[in-house]
Symmetry: C2
């Protein structure tokens, strides 16, 4: 693999997020993002099909991992709802690795319909992946979907709680919400 300065994709993602947080999404041009990352505008479009995609890191392997994790948890005897929560915890662990990202995203994404829509689409993909894994493990289709939606709902509320108090550990908040949900 030839390389000049490795990690161009990551630098582009970070530049897009930070610049948009500072000056707004439509005010920051792709040329700016590329310059901040030390590459050309053309290189940006080799990493991302379009401008909005720079705000949503590739998640194909995440989706696969969610599916297998949910399925394995279910194989170990968990009901679908708990199995989906286990998969969600895994996802929360990934997100918690760089906590600044969700904070910046929360400032940029909701203000831009194109970004907000793509965000919802990704969430639906995650629900679909978890449900798929559960179904592959023998769960009922609608039960699996409901379990996925419940996990997503827990994730959203956990994120909201955490954003109001970012000093807490994100995964702890997720655990808290998850246990509160299973108590219902």
């Amino acid at each position: 693999m030839g390389r000049w300065e490795p990690g161009a994709r990551g630098r582009l993602e970070r530049a897009a997020l930070t610049l948009s947080a500072e000056q707004g999404y439509e005010a920051t041009t792709v040329a700016q993002i590329a310059a901040a990352a030390g590459v050309t505008e053309r290189t940006f479009y080799r990493h991302f099909p379009d401008k909005v995609d720079a705000f949503f890191p590739d998640n194909t392997d995440l989706l696969a991992t969610l599916a297998t994790t949910a399925r394995e948890a279910q194989d170990d005897g968990s009901p679908p709802r708990d199995a989906a929560m286990t998969a969600l915890r895994l996802f929360a662990g990934y997100v918690a690795e760089e906590p600044e990202r969700p904070l910046l995203s929360a400032r940029v994404i909701p203000a831009v319909p194109a970004l907000a829509g793509r965000d919802l689409l990704r969430q639906q993909q995650m629900v679909g992946a978890m449900a798929e894994g559960l179904v592959a493990g023998g769960a009922d289709a609608v039960a699996a979907r409901l379990a996925g939606e419940a996990a997503l709902s827990a994730w959203r509320t956990a994120l909201t709680i955490w954003r109001a108090d970012p000093d807490r550990v994100l995964t702890d908040v997720v655990d808290e919400v998850a246990s509160a949900a299973s108590a219902l």
Copy 2:
């Protein structure tokens, strides 16, 4: 109000949908859509902020109507879930007025992430509007949200059933799904 050939906005919406259904979304240019509607490309952008918006008719008054309808149904004694269903029925009535639209949309929107995302965003706005109306009528916040989500879920399944058999009356299918849901 000065006017040349009235209904430019509607013609643009229809042209965008039919052309995209024929040749695909990215293959149809805004200039094409405008020409098919008998206007200039510039006029297109006076009616819609961007290309994707042409596929989603303005819904600000629909959202307000959903909120008041849900609230009034609740004031008449319906529990939040049924009140949200009543508002949904109203929406179904609007959609049923031109049944070709949802059929074409179903062919175009899911294939294009930008459109699919915007679609989810609109659905969330509808849920928010119904929940808002219910809360204004004194309902609990989470109960109102759940009622809205339940109505949306019923809408989605009703649409799916109807698309498999478009000769049926859409509002009938909605009623059927609604009663099945309330039977749970």
